[in-house]
């Protein structure tokens, strides 16, 4: 069609409503996805911590046990906990003369994927009669479980906008067409092809979807960025793992594009069904 004034006037109210809805959906999707990705990062970090042991041995046998552990296949790292630090931590609980108590020596051990705990325990008991092995994954299990539940809940929440976006875009397109019904019928009667009739609606849907996705995307990414900066201070490994990694930012930035594309495709599909225009 020769360029000129639009035969179907855009109703600003409709366009703003659709853009606002899409912006809200994109915002929710990004925030929920950020929570899901953060929870996944924390779970990964804690899973790595689950391969950590704390070995308690009599102080006199600490050097021997340490040497044995470091020579054991599957042990990635074995580091004695500083005794002075240990006593300082225990003093509020056991009193000032804690140094006189038979406090065991502690050795932090990181295992690699090849280690088997029974083999390590067997080897240690062969040379040190009294030992105690605390596995980090036992006390981390409830935390990891809660984080996994949070991950799935957030992922499901992020999925809802992905499902809702095409439904809303399709409904908005039908509403748009219904408002322009008489104009469409007239322009069709004047000889416009399906493609000519659909073109202005396709442009409007694309423009509105991109605007909504951009607004919601910028707002949500800014908030995630602010939260990440705010929690970066304490220096906690767990909190650091809960904030988006560089590859997570790629996923988050792709979400507005994905939802905009879904809205555009759904709008075109609705147009195709209503007008017979090629999608």
């Amino acid at each position: 069609m020769t360029p000129g004034p639009a035969p179907f006037p855009a109703t600003a109210h409709d366009d703003r409503a659709l853009a606002a809805l899409l912006a809200t959906l994109v915002f929710l999707a990004i925030v929920a996805a950020a929570v899901a990705l953060g929870a996944a990062g924390s779970v990964r970090m804690l899973d790595r911590s689950g391969a950590r042991l704390t070995v308690q041995v009599p102080a006199a046998a600490a050097g021997h046990a340490l040497g044995l552990l470091r020579a054991t296949p599957g042990v990635a790292r074995a580091v004695p906990v500083d005794r002075a630090t240990l006593l300082r931590l225990l003093r509020p609980w056991l009193g000032e003369d804690v140094a006189d108590l038979p406090i065991p020596a502690l050795i932090d051990v990181d295992l690699d994927d090849t280690a088997t705990l029974p083999a390590i325990e067997h080897r240690l008991r062969g040379v040190v009669a009294v030992i105690r092995i605390d596995r980090a994954d036992r006390w981390l299990a409830p935390v990891v479980g809660a984080l996994r539940r949070l991950l799935w809940a957030a992922a499901a929440f992020a999925l809802l906008p992905v499902i809702a976006t095409p439904l809303i875009a399709g409904r908005a397109t039908r509403h748009m067409l219904a408002r322009q019904h008489e104009g469409v019928a007239l322009v069709r009667a004047l000889g416009a092809t399906d493609r000519q009739l659909a073109a202005p609606f396709r442009r409007r849907i694309a423009g509105t979807a991109l605007a909504g996705a951009a607004i919601g995307g910028v707002a949500a990414l800014a908030i995630v960025l602010v939260v990440q900066a705010a929690v970066a201070g304490p220096g906690s490994d767990l909190i650091a793992a809960a904030t988006p990694a560089p590859r997570d930012w790629v996923v988050l930035a792709a979400l507005p594009v994905l939802l905009a594309v879904l809205a555009i495709v759904a709008g075109r599909h609705t147009l195709h069904r209503a007008m017979g225009a090629p999608a």
Binding site: M1, T2, P5, P7, G191, T193
Partner: protein, 251 residues
């Protein structure tokens, strides 16, 4: 040049059913067999509910026959692809009873629509629209929105829009029904004069006064969905432009 006996439209035993309303499914047109020829002005008449609008719907390709065959410009409309259907519609000018102008476009922009749809060059569109507005006496109202025009002026803009793309067939559904007699007379003059010698005009009306105003027009009388004596008189050429036809017409 197309002669007056060239067949523009051919109905063969065409039937059409009501698509909506209380009578949905019952036939509004039955066994219509008639040929419409190039350059002839047809007055389609009959009582209310006789099927005039339904026949115009078929002629303007708003609907396809439920029965029989309709050939338009030599093509069977039932077998047209959607794009071909659109191309055929571009050869048809339509004047609705209420003018049916797009309310947000000016008079000139409304007249330009068929040319824009046909992908004409902007310069050619401007020239053709200006000339057509001049011929219907609306050059000074080119920038007016439909809401600012009188009923008669809106109909003249609708007529200008119907003729601006030089259609082969013009279909008018009681275009004088909502305007005063003087404006109706001027509109009839326009309808009779704007097309070229090969343009076929089919105008539905229940105003018998028009028969005397257009004595050379061919009458098609519909009654209960059937054409009354459709084959009787031989087609005669559309009345030529009256002496004032090319001069601007004022409201």
């Amino acid at each position: 040049m197309t002669t007056a006996t060239t067949t523009m439209v051919q109905f063969e035993h065409v039937g059409l059913r009501h698509a909506t309303g209380a009578d949905v499914g019952s036939e509004v047109l039955s066994d219509i067999t008639v040929s419409l020829h190039a350059g002839v002005f047809y007055l389609l008449t009959g009582p209310g509910g006789a099927g005039k609008s339904a026949l115009l719907d078929l002629l303007s390709l708003a609907r396809a026959p439920d029965r029989g065959t309709l050939h338009l410009f030599g093509e069977a409309v039932n077998r047209l692809t959607r794009d071909r259907l659109a191309a055929c519609r571009r050869r048809i000018g339509i004047v609705h009873r209420d003018g049916r102008l797009l309310p947000h476009l000016t008079a000139a922009q409304n007249v330009a629509l068929p040319l824009r749809i046909a992908d004409e060059a902007p310069v050619a569109i401007d020239r053709a629209v200006a000339a057509m507005l001049d011929r219907v006496g609306m050059a000074d109202r080119a920038d007016a929105l439909p809401a600012a025009l009188s009923a008669g002026e809106r109909q003249r803009i609708a007529v200008a829009r119907a003729f601006v793309a030089r259609p082969a067939l013009v279909v008018a559904d009681e275009p004088t029904g909502a305007i005063d007699p003087a404006a109706a007379d001027r509109l009839l003059v326009l309808l009779g004069s704007l097309g070229d010698a090969a343009t076929t005009v089919v105008m539905a009306t229940h105003d018998s006064r028009l028969f005397t105003r257009l004595p050379r027009a061919r009458i098609l009388r519909l009654d209960h969905g059937r054409l009354h004596d459709p084959a009787a008189p031989a087609p005669v050429p559309r009345p030529g432009p009256p002496p004032h036809a090319t001069a601007p017409v004022t409201a």
